[in-house]
Symmetry: C2
């Protein structure tokens, strides 16, 4: 099906809030084999909501509307729909009784607005306390979902996708995403062109933070042929780029490092300074990370480097906190303290203050201590504080990844 | 000016990449007093790019297009514009010579595409190596900017906004955003309605993660009157909600905690477990945090709680790592080790594994040790791993905020 996605809310058009629900909807619909014709974001303006909706009904097979379903007085989606599609608001007793059951007496009245929907709307769920309904107008299904991301995700996965699967069977796309860290988009593009993949294979290139993501898509016209072509093309890409690809699809550098640590039967501990716990928080965002991650010390102040990490005072005075000597000492000391098989340390200047001619903002030293001994690494990154912290954490994770791959190759 | 924003890229309509550039553009244009009529996201499809562009030219005063300006073969914006607006591609020698000067011989050829723009395009910058041009068509300025967020932000701030300021002086909106943590949107809405603010004051409510953001906007029709009304309404809101408002505009819980630490002349150290460094990374994301943040220990494994934090083995065996006793010991030990004036500890079960009937996933204990002694706090959060880590870190920061405010009130 060809779909349009309409996100509603002044908070979106004024840029106060980043619209993430349209992205989620697009991603899930695309995976399910649908094609997104366009995505629109508009304010809480009834006339415009009606106009965009009516135009979409005329040209696509499926419409998803998010936002403006709440109880505050700036939530106007239902009113706009009632007017534009000539479907007066009707009272839904199921919703009303739920509101009365679940809310305090004094907020009950202001919530009653939620029980009025455009005539013909079908509730997506009778037991959920989230807004969400379906309206079929001129044979086009229009789903209305909450604007709050967690609720929207839930309603999408639990109600919209199953409904679509039941009403449009057999649709599918094969897609794989290959992720590169610090690679050249142009160089990858040239390699791909030289490979002369089948024209049915769609390739896309996407710089994301400091990654390049390469997508490979085969639309499923003839199942056996499409699947074979997809598998064959994926295999060629993986063979060609090898370890330059750090992961696929949902992989992150942190999850890949976790898998490699588990495969190497190694535990990890960290000593962070300028990244302030960012690397550690990325690693622990991965479920199951307690299997291989012991923890770390964030020695942001010099006093913590001395007191908690046991770095030598003379070494610190002689070379300064941002030096390969201190990075080395941090990596070795955290190894001894934690008993981890592999450790990594980071010390640097994230800015905006703290730089000097000799050690400008962006100077970062890392140390890695493991089965192969100690290695030291020196970088000069650019950008603002956030960029420097981000690329430092990614570089550290990639350093661990490459080292773990080397250990496995030995 | 009334503006439309058009973002182009298959990576956006397939949901692989979250569109953040439109949000940035909307935010900056709104601040500069412009009104966003609509934002559209479409794929790399020349016909559709042309169609959306032509329709926008007919109804708004300003258009911003992002994406599809690169050198890979899926970048089609310039071709689409040439065709739709009947402006054949012309060679821009300035760009060509820059490419030849700055790139390796073997990639030079594939980059030459960048030197061809629709006829009449004016380069936004002659010395920048980023794409970006302005086309004035039927008197409507159309800005074409890169899709890569960092480049887009740069071109927006450096070129688009100054151009607009020069061409539409005197426009402005007064706006302030008030941020609440863990508050009820409905309750805030009711309070605001009771306050009976002037109808010229526009109020919006936005749940963002676990925050509620309340926006107050006054459009500047009559400068003196508007400014006075804005200041008066802001003062009423601040007086009414008091410390329920944790911050304004760009404030984060972490930046507010930082300011309060500085005002109290206190330093902070952390002992994290289930949040794995997340609280620490939020605090160190704030420039200047080295003034008050010493660092911390992420004792993810029990061995780190014993070895690095010096938690008593018997206590750990008796109560388990996730207990108020261990939270208390962690907070007190990190205080002793770091010498910080205030410390906070977190130990809990972020899931998906590790829960039990007695201590389900979402169980979190915190300890805070400072001038007022030790306090212990117990929570049961819900959601997936990411949600639990997020709300735990926010709750910890809010606990610090409230405690620091109490210290100041004494």
């Amino acid at each position: 099906m060809r779909a349009e996605i309409i996100a509603i809310g002044d908070e979106l058009t004024s840029g106060r809030i980043l619209n993430t629900t349209s992205n989620y909807a697009a991603h899930r619909l695309f995976q399910a084999g649908h094609e997104i014709h366009a995505m629109h974001t508009i304010g809480d303006t009834p006339e415009l909501i009606g106009e965009i909706l009516v135009r979409a009904i005329g040209r696509v097979d499926l419409i998803l509307v998010t936002g403006g379903l709440g109880a505050t007085d700036d939530d106007l989606t239902n009113e706009a729909v009632s007017q534009a599609l000539n479907r007066p608001a009707s009272l839904y007793p199921t919703i009303l009784s739920q509101i009365r059951e679940h809310s305090e007496h004094d907020t009950c009245e202001s919530l009653e607005k939620l029980a009025w929907l455009p005539r013909g709307a079908e509730l997506l769920s009778h037991d959920s306390r989230m807004a969400g309904h379906l309206l079929i107008h001129d044979q086009v299904p229009i789903f209305f979902l909450p604007g709050v991301p967690s609720q929207m995700h839930y309603m999408m996965d639990k109600h919209v996708l199953p409904w679509l699967a039941a009403h449009s069977p057999g649709l599918h796309s094969f897609q794989c995403l290959y992720k590169f860290f610090k690679a050249s988009e142009i160089a990858i593009n040239e390699d791909i062109l030289k490979m002369q993949l089948d024209p049915e294979v769609e390739i896309g290139y996407y710089p994301v933070n400091n990654d390049i993501h390469l997508s490979l898509t085969v639309r499923d016209h003839d199942h056996q042929h499409s699947k074979k072509l997809f598998d064959h093309s994926c295999a060629r890409i993986k063979r060609h780029f090898g370890q330059k690809i750090y992961g696929q699809d949902q992989d992150t550098l942190a999850s890949v490092v976790g898998q490699l640590l588990a495969q190497n039967n190694l535990t990890l501990a960290l000593a962070e300074s300028c990244t302030g716990g960012l690397i550690s928080s990325k690693i622990t965002a991965v479920p199951g990370s307690s299997d291989y991650f012991l923890g770390g010390v964030t020695s942001y102040a010099d006093s913590m480097k001395l007191g908690c990490l046991g770095v030598d005072n003379e070494l610190l005075s002689k070379y300064g906190a941002v030096s390969s000597q201190i990075a080395g000492a941090m990596a070795e000391n955290i190894k001894q303290m934690s008993g981890a098989g592999l450790t990594l340390s980071v010390t640097g200047i994230a800015g905006p203050g703290g730089g000097s001619a000799e050690k400008p903002v962006g100077t970062v030293h890392m140390g890695m201590s493991g089965p192969a001994g100690l290695s030291l690494h020196h970088f000069l990154f650019s950008g603002d504080r956030q960029n420097i912290q981000a690329i430092t954490s990614q570089t550290a994770l990639d350093l661990l990844r490459c080292h773990l791959l080397e250990l496995m190759a030995e």
